[in-house]
């Protein structure tokens, strides 16, 4: 489908997308902004044939919404709490890693990694194919000669572990990671 077709699909589906953003708890004015961004993005797109334009537009809206939540500090609340715990000193936002940020990232990485390591080999193999290699569930099922619903069960159990590991990190903000020697 050409961009023109996708734009027409956007105009047809605009009310549904607006309603979707509402269900995702986006205030009406912000939802309008997101849809405006989405329309502008369609201008610059040169997509290949799109079998399901409506699904494609939903995905674009969801991605734009997640980008906003992230940049609005949705995710950085953890980092802010960390900075506050350090006595409120804000670091210069340069690209060099601070020891603390490195430690937090490492903590997050190792928590997720340790949690995943408790899963069966098979589950990890499927999770890798799906999440890191970007292979579709049905293709993984074909590859391994198992059913799609079985692939999905493996993926669910891997995601449960990841979500739980993250929740435990958010709950504690790791006091034991306090650096010995902050450069404030």
């Amino acid at each position: 489908m050409a961009t023109g077709g996708l734009k027409a699909a956007f105009l047809d589906n605009r009310p549904a997308l607006f309603r979707y953003l509402g269900a995702r708890k986006v205030p009406a004015d912000e939802a309008e902004d997101i849809l405006q961004d989405l329309f502008v993005k369609l201008e610059g797109l040169r997509p290949g044939p799109i079998a399901e334009p409506r699904a494609y537009l939903y995905r674009m809206a969801e991605n734009l919404l997640q980008d906003r939540r992230r940049s609005a500090g949705w995710r950085s609340s953890r980092e802010q709490a960390w900075v506050a715990a350090q006595g409120g000193a804000t670091r210069d936002a340069d690209t060099q890693p601070s020891a603390e940020r490195t430690l937090i990232a490492r903590e997050q990485l190792s928590l997720v990694s340790e949690a995943l390591a408790g899963l069966p080999d098979r589950t990890l193999q499927i999770f890798r194919r799906y999440r890191l290699d970007g292979i579709r569930q049905r293709d993984i099922a074909t590859e391994l000669g198992i059913s799609v619903s079985s692939v999905e069960k493996h993926l669910r159990s891997a995601y449960q572990v990841v979500v739980d590991a993250q929740a435990s990190l958010d709950a504690e903000i790791s006091p034991r990671l306090r650096p010995r020697d902050g450069e404030t």
Binding site: E52, A55, R69, A99, L109, V112, P120, D121, T123, G182
Partner: protein, 324 residues
Amino acid sequence: MTQRTPQEIRNEAIAWHIRLRDGATADWDAFAQWLERHPTHSDAFDIVAAADTAIVPEAVPLHGQATAQGGDWEAYPAERRRTGLRWASSLAAVAALVLLGLIAIPWLTARPDRYTLATAAGQRRAVDIGDGSSAMLNGGTRLILDRNNPRFAELEVGEATFTIRHDAQQPFTIILGDHRIQDVGTRFNLIHDPGRFEVAVIEGAILYEAAGTRIPLAAGQALTIRSGDRPLLTRDDPARFAGWQTGRLSYRAVPLDHVASDLSRTVGAEVRIDPDIRALPFTGSIRIEADHGVTLTNFAATLGLQARRAGTGWLIEPHVRAPR
């Protein structure tokens, strides 16, 4: 509506997150309905989406529990299970075997057809392996070649980048202690230090082998094995590999003492890390300056540490500060 626990709602959100990645229109419409059914659904979905962003290649271990739990899902093909077990048990022995490998080398090099090329710390050396293949050795490196077999090399210790001409009839093999690399026509960087093995594929593909396990690696992939740790399969921009050649070393969560080995080789002065902070992970990049004092001072400053001369080399340690 029946009462569901937060756990159950979370599991529903996870199922949606998985279903939607390659979702069709019908999936999205059904998802929109699910969202509208209860206001907490959107929040649960946000938590799952945020957790998903923490999944980076190095967070996913190469192997988990070799014995399948939940075997009720699907029978586990017998051959794969065996491979997994072999791999797991072979890893336990890797650290010991690396040491054995180092001890065995003098015996191997006693063969008249084998000879060793070595570089001092800070030195570089281009090596023509003789069949259209070549290697660039970083400092502090020992490479063994075979006069009678141009398709063989052994990286005893150190770091080198190989450019190998592909020959399907006669694959090129590199031995690093217990690890073995077989090329499939390619350029790649290898590190072999006590307790540490790393291969990073810059172009083409290779086959990694250890004790019956074979892992194919393509450009952009790196495999790291440190004693006492799980093997890590990671992905990165190949331009960041072999950073010692471009003057910029890049790391993701690598213990400082490994970074110090790389620095020692590359700058040509022994770099040691204070034992208290030796295992701290470093993520970021280090620019190699002409003056190694500048390189080390800048690197230490980035981490809020200090670098000072100690004996013939350098020591990186925490600042000693007066109490405030």
